[in-house]
């Protein structure tokens, strides 16, 4: 490009002062963004991608500072600009969108008012014209009935709607550069598509430049002109989206590409070559507790769910006074989170439970693992109706040890005050036969080896472990008692793709070795395709479609499944 770039980052190094000395979060990177260009900065957690963007808008926290290098924004040096200059630039020239839209909005102010505030602050409107302009801004981000939504509070809107409001806020003053920091993480695929389409369309329309910060290589390639790949604070590769996708140069980019699940791959394909070979060449160690390999056909199913319903009462309408005097309107029909579903899980099978947030997949899994009571319906496990045992008493049931679960957030699911060992042996202490300090230790070490957790780490506390290691602790705990059925609730949603690749392979290997069945709850269809034998697609508490993975994801019959599949970001071909 002949013209000077809009944003030019040269030799940027950002340091953080910590207890153990100075840490360089970003090391001598060069990034340039041309006018009207859409650039993605891609990397896993700790790569320094967010820190780079914070350095641009100068919102690094107190411990961080730009140690070296320059950041030029249309000729202005942002490193040496005064705070007053920066305040003027932020919002008016450079806008930012954060990951969690709900946290970015003031929860007790009407969204319309919040847009007005920005407009008035940057003298784009006066109080008299603000309302009109705010509604106009809402219209631009495709919010239906904008005049009505003007009066809505953030909690009354969905996550995708909130993100649109945030985009409206960011674009209200017609900035030249938009920085979007993981704008769609935590949103459903269809919402992600809508939000990304909107961002790209609006920025193109206005000739704006965009920096998209994301961990998702697929998303970056689908929506951006240029992709910058970062690893451990360094830029390892900068290339056009198509080139990154079809001809990645740097080994790290290749590893990242490989680990991203796509159509037509197998689980093994996710792993880097050397690692894949290693795992396949080791002969499977026969664990003493291993069950005979299950042959799914012709046997009675392990789990049968019939006509399962979960209802939540809705609050009665009418004023507080009316409720006090008993004059309130009759209650509305209860809300059905799960609305009469039925399915089977066969022995040795992985069943995928797919759907967007609020579809009832988590509620279903909580009922199946007996942490939640159902309203009606039957849950038959190995011939016994376990649905009739109240959730509160299920801890004492002999079935408890046979149904276990791996949680979505490995950090949240470990007690911060328990060491990894204590967490893993917890189920054994309560329900296992192993007794005695030495025997428990031995069993814990065996489990750690089984899940690939270095044995010397089991004395550590959760905050001393990485995300992948914490996930392994969670898995070790779930399989400690050789359960028959393990419910995997988005077990890799909080992990980096390369860690996800390893964990998914681990789960598959463990299933083969220990003869377990899985219910895999996920919103990521690409992952489901890799791991599951059969798939159930849910929407608003009901099953939309079910069948084998190839059938449902290869040739979907339901409209909704097709919609989900097309919403997955497609890289340029």
């Amino acid at each position: 490009m002949a013209a000077a770039p809009l944003l030019d980052i040269r030799n940027l190094t950002v340091e953080f002062a910590t207890r153990r000395g100075t840490v360089q979060a970003v090391k001598a990177i060069d990034v340039s963004v041309g006018k009207g260009e859409t650039v993605a900065i891609v990397g896993e957690s700790g790569s320094g991608k967010s820190v780079t963007s914070y350095a641009v808008v100068r919102i690094l926290d107190r411990a961080g500072r730009v140690a070296e290098g320059s950041i030029a924004f249309s000729g202005i040096d942002l490193v040496s600009a005064t705070e007053a200059q920066m305040r003027d630039l932020r919002g008016r020239e450079i806008s930012m969108i954060f990951q969690n839209p709900r946290a970015a909005l003031n929860p007790i102010r009407k969204v319309g008012k919040q847009i007005e505030d920005v407009l008035v602050q940057h003298v784009q409107a006066t109080r008299a014209t603000a309302r009109e302009k705010a509604i106009e801004a809402l219209e631009k981000v495709r919010i239906a009935r904008p005049a009505e939504r003007y009066d809505a509070y953030p909690f009354e809107l969905s996550g995708g709607m909130c993100q649109r409001i945030v985009i409206a806020l960011a674009l209200a003053c017609q900035p030249q550069l938009l920085i979007a920091d993981e704008p769609t993480t935590g949103l459903d695929v269809t919402t992600q598509k809508a939000v990304m389409d909107l961002i790209v369309e609006l920025t193109r329309e206005r000739g704006m430049s965009t920096i998209l910060i994301t961990h998702d290589l697929g998303l970056a390639a689908a929506y951006c002109d240029k992709v910058v790949v970062m690893e451990k604070g360094r830029v390892v590769e900068t290339a056009s989206a198509a080139e990154i996708f079809h001809n990645p140069q740097h080994p790290y980019t290749r590893k990242l590409m490989k680990a991203t699940p796509r159509v037509g791959m197998s689980l093994r394909d996710l792993l880097p070559e050397d690692q894949a070979k290693k795992t396949t060449s080791t002969p499977p160690v026969e664990a003493a507790s291993a069950k005979p390999p299950a042959t799914s056909a012709g046997r009675a199913p392990l789990l049968v769910v019939e006509n399962l319903v979960k209802e939540y009462p809705r609050p009665a309408k009418g004023s507080f006074l009316a409720k006090l005097t008993g004059q309130a309107e009759p209650d509305q029909p209860a809300f059905r989170a799960v609305d009469g579903i039925g399915f089977e899980v066969r022995r040795g099978e992985t069943l995928g439970l797919v759907g967007e947030s609020g579809c009832g997949k988590s509620t279903t899994s909580m009922m199946v693992n007996r942490l939640l009571d159902s309203t009606s319906g039957r849950i038959v496990f190995d011939g016994q109706d376990i649905g009739s045992i109240p959730a509160k008493q299920f801890a004492a049931s002999p079935f408890r040890r046979r149904i276990q679960m791996v949680f979505q957030d490995p950090t949240d699911s470990l007690n911060p005050r328990f060491t990894a060992e204590r967490a893993i042996i917890d189920p054994i202490l309560r329900m296992g036969q192993v007794r005695g300090r030495a025997a428990l230790r031995a069993r814990c070490e065996e489990l750690a080896q089984l899940v690939g957790l270095p044995v010397e780490l089991i004395d550590r506390f959760p905050h001393q472990l990485s995300g992948g290691q914490k996930a392994r602790v969670g898995i070790a705990r779930a399989i400690a008692l050789d359960p028959d059925l393990v419910i995997l609730d988005e077990p890799t949603a909080a992990l980096d793709v390369s860690v996800q690749a390893v964990v998914l392979n681990l789960l598959e290997e463990l299933k083969q070795r220990l003869g377990m069945s899985y219910v895999f709850v996920s919103h990521d269809l690409n992952v489901v395709r890799l791991l599951c034998d059969r798939v159930i697609v849910m929407r608003t508490g009901q099953i939309v479609e079910q069948g084998t993975a190839e059938e449902v994801l290869g040739a979907p019959r339901a409209e909704y499944t097709k919609e989900l599949l097309t919403a997955i970001p497609h890289p340029p071909s």
């Binding site: 679960m405 949240d412 917890d426 309560r430 001393q464 990485s466 779930a478």
Partner: protein
């Protein structure tokens, strides 16, 4: 701004550092925040006076010597003497044990009762929550010091009853903090995971919830320690609780108050200063205690 703190330089989180000893951790906290170091130093001084006070003082705190009554601070009597010629410095130091014991006993009592009631209310919900909540509301409905006076007056004038009264008026504070903390953790992933491991509800409460709210409770205890000392001294000041000639800060301030008009300020000033220093120390200590007991901060 919140977003930023989450994305701090990640290498720290991923190359997990080895755990450090409690002592090294304490040293770091003191180095990081000198005020905390100052508070810990003050606390050590108070502890020293409470344990060894009676043996350290130059005079018998109870011995009167009317020939030297109401003398100002001097080399012989650092804090001066009172109307009966007793050495105020000796009395202030000797009083530490009593005031400190009352505070520790009442805080320990309310921590056990209020903390447990609050945790149960937050974790089990339902009728337990209602009962604990209403008890706390009822106590809060009274002016707290007047309530403490009433309890001591009704139960009888003794140190034990001061402890009980101080514990009761602090009950809502502990119950509410514990309830809120337990309530947010009730549905946490690790609690659900422990449920799957076959833990009974009571065991969940004691092994999963309670250890995790200890940091907050430790801060709470440190803060209410100061309040408890003030309360005990206040009761003595108005003539309830500890009786003369026992050295106790509240009584000493009360006795000295009448001499301020005539210019003998030291009689009330020094016990008052001791009281203020103790309360100040415990309030400062709160932050330091939190940093010390929170495992997340230890790296």
């Amino acid at each position: 701004m919140n977003e930023m703190s989450k994305v701090e330089p990640a290498p720290l989180r991923f190359e997990a550092p080895p755990s450090t000893s409690l002592l090294a951790h304490a040293r770091h906290i003191v180095a990081e925040n000198p005020v905390t170091g100052f508070a810990f130093g003050l606390f050590a001084l108070i502890l020293l006076a409470a344990v060894f006070g009676p043996w350290l003082v130059p005079y018998d705190p109870l011995a009167s010597n009317t020939s030297v009554s109401l003398q100002g601070p001097s080399a012989a009597h650092w804090f001066g003497t009172d109307q009966l010629g007793r050495d105020i410095f000796s009395r202030v130091v000797a009083a530490t044990r009593l005031d400190f014991s009352i505070a520790v006993a009442s805080v320990a009592l309310v921590f056990l009762l209020g903390g447990l009631a609050g945790v149960m209310a937050g974790f089990f919900g339902g009728w337990v929550d209602t009962v604990v909540g209403r008890i706390a509301d009822t106590i809060m409905a009274f002016p707290l010091f007047v309530l403490a006076m009433g309890i001591v007056a009704a139960l009888g004038n003794s140190v034990t009853n001061i402890v009980i009264a101080t514990a009761i008026i602090n009950f809502p504070l502990y119950a509410r903090v514990a309830r809120a903390e337990a309530n947010v953790r009730r549905e946490a992933g690790f609690v659900q995971a422990a449920r799957l491991s076959g833990n009974s509800e009571w065991r969940l409460l004691l092994t999963q919830i309670v250890p995790n709210i200890m940091p907050i409770m430790a801060v709470q205890m440190s803060l209410t320690m100061g309040y408890a000392i003030l309360n005990a001294a206040g009761l003595s000041f108005i003539g309830l609780g500890v009786r003369p000639p026992t050295p106790e800060w509240g009584i000493m301030v009360a006795e000295g108050a009448s001499f301020i008009v005539s210019g003998e300020w030291w009689v009330a000033f020094f016990p008052g200063l001791a009281l203020m220093t103790a309360v100040f120390c415990f309030n400062l200590l709160g932050d330091g205690v939190r940093d010390l007991v929170d495992p997340q901060r230890r790296n």
